[in-house]
């Protein structure tokens, strides 16, 4: 998911051409305090004019307790982007309050409550402690993400880029997302010049279970896509497992072997997930 500063027309109008799965139009940290009105109005007009075809469009608003958050919601919610991202959510009461406001605005505009998804950002130690309660609060919360830079600041970490200080939080957030069966996105990798570091970081968080990673520069898209796209070898193996599963199921066999390795239901489930990530339909096998 590519972050795009909300007050930058050039980037807003080109956002979908770089090949990211999603674009995040940012009204929060990427916008100067004295340009919040300008960015909010610009993003509103862009959402009505630009087609981000093939890209999921998310708008990150300011926190509702800042002087900007409520106005952001009033302007953006009626436009119903694919998702709205709420920064620095810390407690169950807070997410309840924000979703109530969103749904009041939707009611005022006679909009349904189930079209626009909600992404929650966890960026403080308190948020990490409460992440499961927050994530399970509403079915319209379809993703959680970790904001590494803010979390590192909240934890008073001097060094944030090696990921050591936020490792526990990453794992906790992944586990909450998996328990709620929703997506989970990792934080940005801020050292844009360090491509090898980005690859290592992306490979690590993929192993932890993250669904994807936020990026701040189009140069980072290819590396993250490469890491998260199954390799040909992984796809071949997955196809073999799923085909063997279908054959064995017809014969009433639940556990079998493929290339000398035991295959049971969880292995089949993982193989199916590989095919899903590679956009391969079961019917095509």
């Amino acid at each position: 998911m590519l972050y795009i500063p909300g007050n930058n027309p050039a980037m807003l109008q080109q956002g979908s051409v770089y090949g990211a799965d999603g674009v995040l139009l940012d009204l929060e940290d990427a916008v100067a305090l004295n340009q919040k009105d300008s960015a909010r109005i610009l993003v509103s007009h862009m959402l009505e004019y630009i087609s981000y075809e093939g890209c999921e469009v998310t708008v990150r608003v300011n926190h509702i307790d800042t002087p900007f958050g409520l106005e952001d919601l009033k302007q953006i919610v009626p436009l119903q982007p694919d998702a709205i991202r709420l920064p620095k959510v810390e407690t169950l009461d807070e997410i309840k309050r924000i979703i109530d406001v969103i749904e009041q605005i939707e009611d005022e505009h006679q909009l349904p409550h189930d079209k626009m998804n909600v992404h929650v950002m966890i960026e403080t130690a308190l948020g990490v402690q409460n992440v499961y309660d927050i994530a399970k609060y509403s079915p319209r919360i379809d993703a959680i993400s970790i904001g590494g830079q803010d979390l590192a600041a909240d934890m008073q970490l001097v060094k944030a880029n090696d990921g050591i200080g936020i490792d526990y939080a990453r794992k906790q957030i992944v586990m909450a997302a998996k328990a709620c069966k929703i997506d989970v996105f990792d934080t940005v990798f801020v050292d844009v010049e360090n491509e090898e570091g980005l690859r290592e970081d992306a490979e690590y968080i993929k192993k932890l279970g993250f669904t994807g990673k936020a990026i701040i520069n189009p140069r980072q898209i290819e590396i993250v896509n490469e890491v998260f796209t199954p390799t040909e070898k992984e796809i071949r193996k997955a196809v073999k497992i799923v085909k063997a599963f279908e054959r064995n199921t017809k014969e009433g066999i639940g556990v079998f072997a493929v290339d000398g390795k035991m295959v049971d239901a969880p292995v089949v489930q993982r193989a199916m997930r590989v095919l899903e990530m590679a956009d391969i339909e079961m019917a095509d096998l």
């Binding site: 930058n8 027309p9 050039a10 109008q13 305090l33 004295n34 919040k36 009105d37 300008s38 109005i41 610009l42 509103s44 007009h45 862009m46 009505e48 004019y49 630009i50 300011n62 800042t66 002087p67 900007f68 958050g69 409520l70 106005e71 952001d72």
Partner: protein, 96 residues
Amino acid sequence: MELKIKAQAGSFESSDVLIMVEPQPLGVGRKIELESIVLQQFGEDLLNQINTDLDTFAISDVRVIINDKGALPPTISARLETALKRSAGIQSGTLS
């Protein structure tokens, strides 16, 4: 919308537009000054858009100075709306 002060929005960046608005005495009408890198090709369209947007906000007496760096229509509308709201003192939820 009642304009009160001189205000501006936008920038000189590529694909952006800098728009300055200034309230004028009643009956003076609209004074629009346009500079654009695509004046030959889109100057007339741009002026039409500015006039249409001013109609939307019911602004009759105003001076508008536009310095366009190849902005798309939504950017032009957004920057004009921001400048007008700033001029009118409507900057909901924004620190000035």
